[in-house]
Amino acid sequence: MNKVRYRNVYLKRKLDKLTLLCWLLKAIVDTREYNLEQESELRFEVEFSSKASVKLVSGTAEIFGTELATGVTYHFFGRKIAVFTWHGCCLELTGQCSVEYTANETPMSSYLNLHLALEQLRENAAQQGEQGPRVLVLGPHDVGKTSLCKILLSYALRQGRRPLHVSLDCSEGSITMPGTMTATSISHIIDVEEGFGSTATTAASMGSTTMPLAYYYGYQNPSENLQLYKLLTSKLAQGVKARSAIDDETRLGGQIIDTTGLIDNVGYDIIQHAIEQFSVNVVVVLGHERLYSDMTRILRDKPEISVVKVAKSGGVVERDQQFRTQLQRSKIHEYFYGTSKCELSPYSTLTNFTDVSIWRVGESSLAPTSALPIGMDRQLSETQLVKIDNADILLHSILAVLNADETDNEANALESNVAGFIYVSDVDDAKQKLTILSPAPGRLLKRHLLMGSFKWIES
């Protein structure tokens, strides 16, 4: 009898092995091998619905500045990726890609020079006990600003620096939710699979977790509430400066500041504001001649600020609104549920509407100037909090949990940073109850919640 059992186990194991083998065979058939020459790159795009993976077989390769380990498989979905090699390499690409090709014209050597120039500034700063470079990366939409930031940050990290990544790009949410402005210390290798790596989870050191200083702006476009955008930029800059004053490594590492692709009048306004607030001393203009010449002109009488232009990569693709919306949705999903590599379990709880104070900023978008009472300054309302009395409009909203104490007044609340986000999945108007999805178990930590313009329907 025991023998029979033994044989069954044996057969089962054998079957498992066969299944695995079939799967492997399928993967092998599907695998394309690429031999890249020195300083060329493999570009591929993966839809949100499909998956692709890349493995470095030999040589060296990097994705946006982060070097790949040999023999490790990296998975991607909903991404546009470029695997670059300085020394030549052999890659294996598996899975479905909507686009895949190799290119040998890249601006990487100029990006490297840019990095080395910044590194030179850091070395000088180290000798003189000064601050590392504060770099503002400018350019229109879809020229690879975020990718350039990643490259510069990753290279700095590889040389033992600990730079800050500041994201003023509120549409994308490279670190966390869309609509958020963040500053993050890059102290660990940037995860190539997750963009910048997700923010910290309860498993204290899970992968390349980051802990951002985040402020919630709540809109996609800075022009929707310019006043608030500038206020939060200043708050962020204050935090960054305070940290730089305390921590030597942060001070020396400097900051790489990612911006929105806005280059109209509003854009120039917020650029100048950011330059002032962060005491920027290097302005990098990516792939836009007019912007470069305008910046040189505007900053003519500030010789301490260097303005540099670099070419954009031929690999950048214009992302349509649909892709952006999908990206935002996947970012929100990722915040609560994590990625396939690291799945998270959010908690659904019931909360009394009266237990929390939910705010939204200003009413400007609702009332035109002409409709305002005579003598009332519109500017004021742009940064004033308005309490939400009607629970109905909260349905499917993303709310930011503010790190403000209950005793704090409204003005303080708006200026507090974000502790996290919750999602209102259901509203019971009669009982005045909200069903919320919270990232962590337990009661809501803070009372003050801020609503933005982002809605999400859990699929």
């Binding site: 020394h87 080395l116 951002p212 200083l213 305070a242 670099v310 379990s345």
Partner: protein, 565 residues
């Protein structure tokens, strides 16, 4: 010459082995199959002395006269193909330079044998695999192709083209005809053998040394300096792409005072080389053509009219050798640090200024600085296999790498454990916490925990890892439990898998393999050891972390209390 009596026994004493090997190797001055077979078997029987054997063989190749190198390389070939590891790995380190050195010094006719041999290395293993990896062979092949283009010219009119020093004894030309040198053909007749001393190849190093010693006593004794100086003299023959980084590197390494004088002395071969090799560089096989108008002028001084002491063949060879060792030649194979130079490169004393100054101007940013990327690669040779992160090869870098691996280990284990309980996103810290750097705790750069573990275990870094290994090594066969009468196939409570039942003849009982009986419950021995070890480490670690981060914990406690209020 007599083939030595077979010494097939396993020689326990490594030193004796080395001497014995050396003795037999002495006789391998011609292509003699019995000796090669004998030495191959000896290598197979004494794998524990592989390092020593390889060293002896390599020395032999270097020491032998140019016409006697091929047989020893045949021995390398035989050992690699018949014995395989660990020899392949050991030979792979230096085979490129040894092969090229022998190849360049060999007669044109003998070269064909080398070329045939090189071809077999591409797929010569019994199962059709390459003997050496592509990254090793590719630079060699490239160099061979390059030298091949040079050879017909020399073949037509050998004497006037060659400098007196590398002119061969005419008899050698016949001694190494292709048919005779083919492996594994029978040995040559003794009359054809040349004693090593008849046509000595002047060693470039010693030549350099002799040149350097009177002029500059300080740097003359330092072999590193010589290599550098030698390299320097070869620089003008390189494509500028490869030359610039080396040049800048040299500029940094050489003491400012010593460099110019030393270079003046050895600068002579360079212009000569430049003329001799230039037309060949224009052929595509070598890469980009030589352009003398690179950004930095050559450091080699104007050409004195003196004839060079070393011929162009040799220069090219040493150039290859040095470049290969620097990792600048043979694109794919970079990242294999070996030579002394590289260590200097990696020791973190490189500064950006070497390639600079960098100006933050749009034009300067476009200037291509070849080799500058090595700041991010060769300068950081310690690469993590799991994530690709690199550290410099310094004491501090090694410590950091240890801490980094330790972090991976803990992270992997923790993620497995916590995954069962379910993970969730943590709340972000407050502004003041962020400003004070609390976020770092949640990311990677923990202070190396093993510093404390060392005290606990009395072992080196990564004590946890070693313990873990112990668990894996636990001998599953030594743990057996008699199958209980009432067991209706109850699985192991830890992993939920069935036990493997075997018949034990000695006990005349059915037994569970790899099992322990703890208080009446039967576990897999490995599962139980693993679980108890995990608990142990978890407690240990929790204890340390608590101690280590007391301050931080207090902070967090405070904030949690605030939050829950």
């Amino acid at each position: 010459m007599q083939a030595s009596p077979p010494a097939l026994q396993n020689i326990p004493d490594l030193d004796a082995l080395r001497l014995e090997y050396k003795r037999i190797l002495q006789d391998l001055t011609f292509n003699c199959k019995p000796i090669i077979t004998n030495l191959t078997i000896l290598a197979q029987e004494n794998k524990q002395g592989a390092t020593l054997i390889v060293r002896e063989i390599e020395q032999k190749i270097r020491a032998n006269a140019s016409n006697q190198k091929l047989p020893v390389i045949y021995l390398v070939d035989s050992i690699c193909k018949n014995v395989g590891e660990p020899y392949i790995q050991l030979f792979a380190r230096n085979i490129a330079s040894l092969f090229l050195e022998s190849y360049t010094r060999a007669e044109v006719s003998t070269r064909r044998s080398f070329e045939r041999l090189l071809q077999t290395w591409k797929n010569g293993m019994p199962d059709g695999r390459p003997v050496f990896s592509r990254s090793v062979l590719e630079p060699v092949e490239r160099s061979v192709r390059y030298l091949q283009q040079q050879s017909p010219q020399q073949h037509q009119q050998p004497p006037p083209q060659q400098s007196p020093n590398i002119m061969r004894d005419p008899r050698q030309r016949y001694s190494a005809s292709p048919s005779q040198s083919q492996y594994p053909s029978s040995g040559m007749s003794p009359s054809q053998q040349q004693p090593p001393s008849t046509a000595p190849q002047p060693d470039v190093m010693s030549t350099l040394q002799s040149i350097l010693s009177p002029a500059n006593g300080n740097s003359g004794g330092d072999p590193t300096t010589q290599i550098l100086v030698q390299l320097q003299s070869l620089l003008p023959t390189l494509p500028p792409a490869q030359a610039a980084p080396i040049q800048q590197y040299l500029a940094q390494i050489l003491p400012p005072g010593a460099a110019p004088s030393a270079l003046t002395q050895v600068g002579s071969p360079s212009p000569r080389m430049g003329h001799a090799v230039k037309p060949l560089h224009e052929k595509p096989s070598m890469g980009s053509p030589v352009t003398m108008d690179r950004s930095t002028p050559p450091i080699g001084t104007p050409p004195p009219a003196s004839s060079s002491s070393s011929g162009s063949n040799m220069n090219a060879l040493d150039l290859m050798k040095n470049l290969t060792s620097l990792g600048l030649l043979g694109g794919v194979s970079s990242g294999k640090p070996a030579s002394e130079q590289k260590k200097d490169f990696a020791s973190g004393n490189m500064t950006v200024a070497l390639f600079g100054p960098f100006r933050l101007e749009s034009k300067d940013i476009q200037t291509v600085r070849k080799g500058a990327v090595e700041f991010l690669y060769s300068a950081l040779p310690l690469k993590c296999k799991q994530c690709g992160y690199r550290y410099p090869d310094t004491e501090e870098g090694k410590k950091k790498m240890d801490a980094h691996l330790d972090f991976h280990f803990r992270q992997n284990r923790r993620s497995k454990e916590r995954a069962k309980r379910g993970l969730s996103r943590s709340w972000f810290v407050t502004e003041s916490e962020w400003v004070n750097g609390v976020d770092i705790e949640t990311s990677s750069q923990h202070p190396p925990i093993f510093a404390d573990e060392q005290a606990h275990n009395g072992t080196g870094g990564g004590g946890g890892q070693q313990k873990h290994k112990k668990v894996e090594e636990l001998d599953a066969d030594s743990h057996m439990v008699v199958v209980p009468a009432d067991s209706q196939g109850r699985p192991c409570p830890i992993c939920g898998e069935q036990f493997i039942t075997i018949w034990n003849d000695g006990e005349e009982e059915w037994m569970y393999k790899n099992a322990v009986n703890i208080n009446g419950t039967i576990y897999h021995a490995t599962c139980h050891a693993d679980a108890s070890h995990n608990m142990e480490v978890e407690e240990l670690e929790a204890d340390q972390i608590e101690k280590k981060r007391k301050a931080v914990d207090d902070l967090e406690q405070d904030s949690k209390m605030l939050k829950t209020e």
